[in-house]
């Protein structure tokens, strides 16, 4: 049943998952994490469809049992039902493929041989699995609840690596599509873009930190889905690059939040603030993560976005490019909220004691921050690996000159020069501020805003970090997004299925004589029918 084969793509994804899981391994739930790592290994090194599916399902239910330590039953049910829904769709696609291909081996899969209707149904079924796993809008309820209710470190694993399984599945199964049958992937591109816009605005209006990060990973995965749906060499590199960056960023952010929760025991913006001077190192690490997350030119985050924008330009998808840019720009709002809400502003009034965060939380953060900075200096470092994967998947090789120069269809930029220039400017401004800081007057308490001629009452908390998203609701377009709840659709569906089950179950509460009557009725009707 199990056939394995090492591929470059497998090495990349398994390397990432190894990095994430080993970095977050704790002693008490080690067994389940190793089982999870095993199932990821099975997925990423599977050479037959059956092995891929076995790994996929084992990842599903081992994740279920880790999540079941902390999550509520309704979230667990939602998690397992969405995941199994995707998995059964994948199983249907595998059975369908087998009936046409005759063999289960991945190397024999050639989608061009399929008749059109079979191609569309197989792609649709696999896409269901991909969409559910990466939490595309509509199938994202389980993502948000599970990330919030998982233990802090496991939500890091969930967001950093488990969500990438869908990406791997798409690359392995659907990337080699015949050119003329692309209508499904047009839809997929738009779905990815819409997801990122909606998820970004939902993220901004969240009060719990982990829900914000959950919506943010949905948004980032939306970019990757859009990149993949273009099926073009640079778009594939953009997707792979963004996968690596997203794994590192989410690992950093979630562990950072875990450290904050370990220190303060709080997980809402409204209960946090002003921790800059308590844990400056965490603040610096978070800022590095934010810069990469927002895709600003400095750190690695920009490279993935840069490739995605140029690929979209090359494919002449202007409207799609505009949407992606809009959502990526507005993404900066929740990045700023993350920094401001936790570290800047003033301490809340309850002054609960602060604990010291465990040392082991710093290691993964430092590791991923270092990698992000490295990718900032040498943006084209992974390009040879990505181009080899692209060639393996049947695309043309990418041009590669030096690790520090990232080329794309519309020009290239030198990361090293950029980073060093920024470093010099940063040091200059820091020195300037340091001298000015000595003459600045320290505010006695949170209420001292005499420079604007107003003295607020004692109870007022001026730290508006948590309220940042509220006024967004007044904008018509965003209010429309925030009000739409796909959860209501799934709950309504659950209600209908529940009522149908109670109705059907009443059949099994019939009296004995009614059962006999039905059988006799059936006998007579069939007899009359058959004569």
């Amino acid at each position: 049943m199990l056939h394995f084969e090492a591929t470059l793509l497998g090495h990349l994804f398994f390397g990432l998952s190894l990095l994430v899981i080993v970095a977050l391994l704790r002693k008490n739930d080690g067994l389940w994490h190793l089982l999870l790592l095993g199932s990821l290994g099975i997925i990423f090194y599977a050479s037959s469809l059956v092995t891929l599916f076995i790994g996929w399902e084992m990842m599903g239910w081992s994740g279920y049992f880790i999540l079941s330590k902390t999550a509520r039953v309704s979230t667990l049910q939602r998690y397992i039902l969405f995941n199994l829904g995707g998995a059964f769709a994948l199983l249907g696609a595998i059975a369908l493929l087998f009936s046409f291909m005759g063999s289960m081996m991945l190397c024999d899969i050639d989608l061009t041989l399929l008749p059109v209707w079979a191609l569309h149904s197989v792609s649709a079924l696999v896409l269901i699995a991909v969409f559910v796993k990466s939490g595309i809008i509509g199938a994202h309820d389980w993502v948000v609840d599970s990330y919030q209710e998982a233990s802090p470190l496991f939500s890091a694993v969930l967001s950093a690596i488990l969500s990438k399984a869908g990406i791997y599945l798409f690359i392995v199964l659907l990337l080699k599509q015949p050119h003329d049958e692309r209508v499904l992937f047009e839809l997929m591109a738009w779905l990815g873009a819409i997801t990122s816009v909606v998820a970004t605005f939902k993220a901004i209006s969240q009060d719990e930190i982990k829900r914000l990060l959950a919506y943010s990973s949905i948004a980032q995965l939306g970019y990757i889905i859009t990149a993949l749906s273009l099926m073009q060499a640079y778009a594939l590199e953009a997707a792979l690059y963004h996968t690596v960056i997203h794994t590192l960023v989410k690992l950093l952010l979630f562990v950072n939040v875990a450290a904050i929760m370990a220190i303060t025991g709080k997980e809402r913006f409204s209960e946090l603030g002003g921790l800059l001077y308590r844990v400056p190192l965490l603040f610096v690490l978070l800022v590095i993560g934010i810069i990469a997350l927002a895709g600003m030119p400095l750190l690695g985050g920009f490279n993935g976005k840069f490739l995605l924008y140029t690929a979209l330009l090359e494919e002449k998808r202007a409207l799609l490019l505009a949407t992606v840019m809009f959502s990526s720009a507005s993404a900066f709002l929740y990045c700023y909220k993350l920094v401001y809400g936790i570290y800047l502003g003033q301490r809340p009034h309850d002054e609960s004691p602060l604990h010291v965060s465990p040392k082991s939380y710093y290691i993964p953060q430092l590791l991923s921050a270092a990698l992000l900075i490295l990718l900032g200096f040498l943006p084209a470092l992974p390009t040879p690996l990505f181009s080899a994967i692209g060639v393996e998947a049947g695309f043309s090789a990418l041009e590669f000159t030096k690790p520090s120069i990232l080329n794309s269809p519309f020009g290239s930029f030198n990361g090293a020069v950029l980073m060093s220039a920024f470093g010099v400017v940063f040091v200059l401004i820091l020195g300037l501020l340091q001298r000015v800081h000595s003459k600045a007057k320290a505010a006695q308490n949170a209420q001292d805003i005499s420079y604007c001629g107003e003295v607020p009452k004692a109870g007022v908390n001026l730290h508006f970090g948590y309220g940042m998203g509220h006024e967004l609701g007044r904008i018509g377009f965003i209010a429309f997004i925030l009000r739409r709840q796909s959860r209501r659709f799934w709950d309504y569906l659950n209600l209908i299925v529940g009522d149908l089950s109670i109705l059907l179950r009443s059949l099994y509460a019939l009296g004995t004589q009614h059962i006999l009557l039905l059988s006799l009725l059936g006998f007579t009707l069939l007899l009359l029918g058959g004569l």
């Binding site: 179950r505 009296g511 004589q513 006999l516």
Partner: protein, 123 residues
């Protein structure tokens, strides 16, 4: 009137079978249901043996003068053996059923089939 008794026997036995089925489906008392089942079984036996019997044939036993077993003047012994077995099975089922009904009556105080509500979802 008939060239052979078979149509008559079939009609009578199926009529009894119908009445017995009606008894099973309508009667509320458990005892009567089990009795209706044994009536239905006997109706089937009547139908089966009746259709095997043609007037003038003797029982398949070599006694008082008959020494040769010849199908020309002897009835087919196999249905008799089958019915002998099914009768005993019929007794066995009704004896077990009635003993359970008695015990059920002692436990719940009623023997009505439409009031048997111990099983189901609410319990």
């Amino acid at each position: 009137m008939f060239d052979s008794l078979h149509p008559l026997i079939t009609m009578i036995s199926l009529a009894i079978f119908g009445v017995a089925l009606l008894g099973v489906l309508v009667k509320k008392n458990l005892f009567k249901i089990f009795l209706a089942f044994s009536v239905a079984e006997s109706a089937l036996f009547l139908f089966f043996i009746g259709n095997h019997y043609t007037p003038g044939l003797k029982a398949p036993i070599a006694a008082d003068g008959i020494t040769r077993f010849d199908p020309a003047f002897m009835v087919d012994p196999l249905p008799q053996a089958m019915i002998l077995t099914t009768i005993v099975i019929g007794i066995a089922v009704s004896a077990l059923g009635l003993s359970m009904v008695i015990r059920y009556y002692k436990l719940t105080g009623h023997m009505r089939i439409d009031k048997m509500d111990e099983l189901g979802e609410e319990q």
